[in-house]
Symmetry: C2
Subunit: 211 residues, 2 copies
DNA sequence: CCTGGTACCTACTCGCGAGTAAGACTACTC
DNA sequence: GAGTAGTCTTACTCGCGAGTAGGTACCAGG
């Protein structure tokens, strides 16, 4: 709603946060290429040279956005999971934390999933890295809990599929926001833990009774 | 390998196919924004005005590419599935057809999945449409086969998750091409039909014995 | 050999957006 | 109140790429 005039003087750290917030917003709406530095600076309420002085080039800025949002998300998930519980409970906690985060951070999710995965730029590294961490996490969970001997490749590919299912369901959820996070998470949990085979027969998974 | 000179005169229909092939190739490698009409015309072996005369603007061209590749893929899947078999067999056939197609049409898949899903342009319609058809297909399969009463929303979201898992696994596969299509398809089949719960216990799904 | 129509080209225009030069305004310090 | 360090701006340059104007080669049929 600011129209014109000089921006109020603010310490660098504060400005940088504002700019990052604006950048995530714009990138999430328009994608990397279509987002212009002019628009980001406008949304942030400052002029373009400030942008360059503080955050560097457009690619650097984007990479920084991804790193920040990825970290926030991974932390949200990690704090939701307790590592010495049963595998299914761990998975359940992770899923709930994931959908909880997405629900409260639509823009972050858009940047992370839709935008970053596309371009083969230098920032793809950041994204691939985060996704890799997520996949490894799930793969480890699976490997550790399975009794049947499973190859590394097998666990990894299953984890990739699961992560993809989560991403896709999160996207679907953006178009059906009336559903609560817990319900969506529970559905995915049932799919990947019970499988269609059981669901078709009416067998569902439910969390262990409280306490 | 053509360096210069006038291109050989060819009937319009043939040229259009050549151009489309070139466009799919370039779009798949660079994405919509980074791909330039200059490069596409160069790869196609003709000059830019021809491109515009035949296929219209860049956006129209891209939309046309998506439509063509989407149709090819949906047909490949449809011909692989026989609609009055058991649900699990139908799903299995569909998955095999899908991974078979992706394996033999990397470029098409890149265009369809990575590139098209990103941009919010007018072509997003084409993509959303195809994805929607795939989701409906799976949702119908699920609804029809389940005994427990399931809401439309529930079936649709599960289908979305499954489709997403397939997409994600296909992407993972691009980075691990040494695995045969059937193995990858079987893994996903096991995940979504049996679920982790069963897999952890060593129960696997396998196709009904041949004949 | 002319007349048209279709394939095809070179050589532009023109806007958009990344990045910058050069300076102006504010605030703190001694 | 003069120096100086950090914040912030206006007003550019400049390349890239979408889209086009205005042709040239080639092949009919008359």
């Amino acid at each position: 709603m600011r129209t014109e005039g000089r921006a109020k003087r603010l310490p660098r750290a504060v400005r940088e946060r504002q700019i990052m917030d604006a950048a995530v917003d714009v990138f999430s709406r328009l994608g990397f290429h279509s987002a212009s530095m002019d628009e980001i600076s406008e949304v942030a309420g400052i002029s373009k040279p400030m942008l360059y002085a503080y955050l560097g080039s457009k690619e650097e800025l984007f990479a920084t956005c991804i790193r920040r949002e990825a970290t926030r998300m991974m932390e949200a998930i990690a704090t939701g999971v307790e590592p010495d519980q049963e595998p299914d409970v761990q998975l359940w906690s992770g899923l709930r934390a994931f959908f909880g985060f997405v629900g409260e951070n639509r823009a972050s999710w858009q940047v992370l999933h839709r935008q970053a995965s596309t371009q083969g730029g230098p920032f793809a590294v950041e994204l691939t890295d985060m996704r890799g961490r997520a996949v490894s996490l799930v793969a480890a969970l699976l490997t550790q809990s399975t009794k049947a001997p499973a190859t590394k490749l097998e666990a990894e590919s299953l984890a990739a599929a699961l992560v993809g299912a989560g991403e896709s369901l999160a996207d679907w959820w953006l178009d059906h926001p009336e559903e609560p996070a817990g319900v969506v998470a529970a559905r995915l949990m049932n799919l990947v833990w019970m499988g269609f085979g059981d669901l078709v027969d009416g067998n569902v998974w439910h969390p262990p009774s409280r306490r």
